[in-house]
Symmetry: C2
Subunit: 227 residues, 2 copies
């Protein structure tokens, strides 16, 4: 059966779950913490030792292990036509890919490693308290990214244009993970809040918002579309 190695609060894993649900592709979810891969199944599927990894049985037969998230997205688009994640035109595809990479890579490096990874991964790895200097740096970078998203959404209905694309999915995946730790100043960025409310209502996002980490409850507004 189609299987996704993931972590519940890992933004890239969330993006792939969201994308597969939009394409109508069910998958068995198996949680894999890279720092606790005792049996080596994660390293065997992805020598980089990171989630997400998609283990798929493509329509053309066989079994295939795909990673990282950017390669999974291209694979899904090529293997399954339903629920396209990318627009049809060259310019549209380039813009969706630019912003998908922006949120999967740039946002990750500038915001999530200093916030989510400090708050959540350190706790899961039992590595002590978060570093408040890093959290502050992440919060500052987050404000800049939210400002950029608000600027885009002033001109467009979705981040990369007039249709929802992988860019929205990647951004929503990041922000949903940060929202779990109540780190997103939604009230300061109304266009982003409105956009996120639209994404929260999508059936593809509902199961992701139902995930809970033991001992770390999300804020009350977390899975409420009218937040």
């Amino acid at each position: 059966m189609r299987t996704l190695f993931h972590m519940p609060l890992d933004p890239a894993s969330r993006a792939i779950r969201f994308a597969m649900a939009e394409k109508g592709l069910p998958a068995q979810l198996v949680e894999k913490r890279p720092w606790a891969d005792e049996d080596g199944t994660l390293a065997a599927a992805n020598p980089a030792g990171a989630v997400p990894v998609l283990i798929d049985e493509p329509p053309t037969g066989g079994e295939i292990a795909v990673s990282p998230a950017s390669a999974i997205i291209e694979y899904l688009e090529e293997a399954y036509e339903s629920g396209p994640l990318l627009p049809a035109t060259s310019a549209g595809r380039a813009e969706a890919r630019r912003l998908s990479a922006w949120f999967l890579d740039k946002f990750e490096a500038e915001v999530s490693v200093f916030t989510l990874r400090e708050r959540v991964d350190k706790r899961l790895m039992r590595r002590g308290q978060p570093d408040y200097e890093l959290l502050k740096a992440g919060a500052d970078a987050l404000a800049w990214h939210l400002d950029y998203a608000a600027w885009l959404l002033d001109q467009r209905h979705w981040l990369a244009g007039e249709k929802m694309t992988i860019a929205d999915i990647a951004a929503a995946a990041q922000l949903s993970a940060l929202d779990y730790i109540d780190f997103v100043p939604w009230e300061k960025f109304p266009p982003v809040k409105d956009w996120y409310a639209r994404l929260k209502s999508r059936p593809a996002m509902r199961p992701i918002l139902r995930d809970r980490i033991d001992g770390l409850p999300p804020p009350a507004h977390y899975d409420n579309p009218d937040f």
Copy 2:
């Protein structure tokens, strides 16, 4: 005319130059240092303020600005059939994309930011001497990556399989930039040295190896295919 915003020793820029030459697509090269974008042309073409950015006039008409490197690669593959950078099968494409992301992103984060960026960018930005602790961390990570490449090349003629792909181009781009500062212990990794000698001989790589940075000459073996 097709234009590439680049920096001569930036690995991702080198990968795109190499890829375009393999596809037979000439481009005007314009050097853009992200930290000296006084007229804002780089930020206008890529809000992330990073090179490479491809400004293309696609066969379908109009003008398009594409970034980052991963999106440029997908764009080139979709817009131009000649000189394919990805294999034809799903499994082949996934493997080439996995290793392309490995060298463009993981290798960059684990090796190049600590070595090339310390040695070259700091010099260009006049930010003082490299930090030797960081250079040592980068050298250790480089040995691990070269070991992984050697392991792959023990089983395959090229990094991602039996044909040259974007994975080889991305890896060669990183290693060529590190080789410019004489940082690659080729003699310890004979399969990687042999593979790199094959890439060095390709006409697509020759112009890249002719670039020189003022006041920073490369080692004598740098552009010699029989090194």
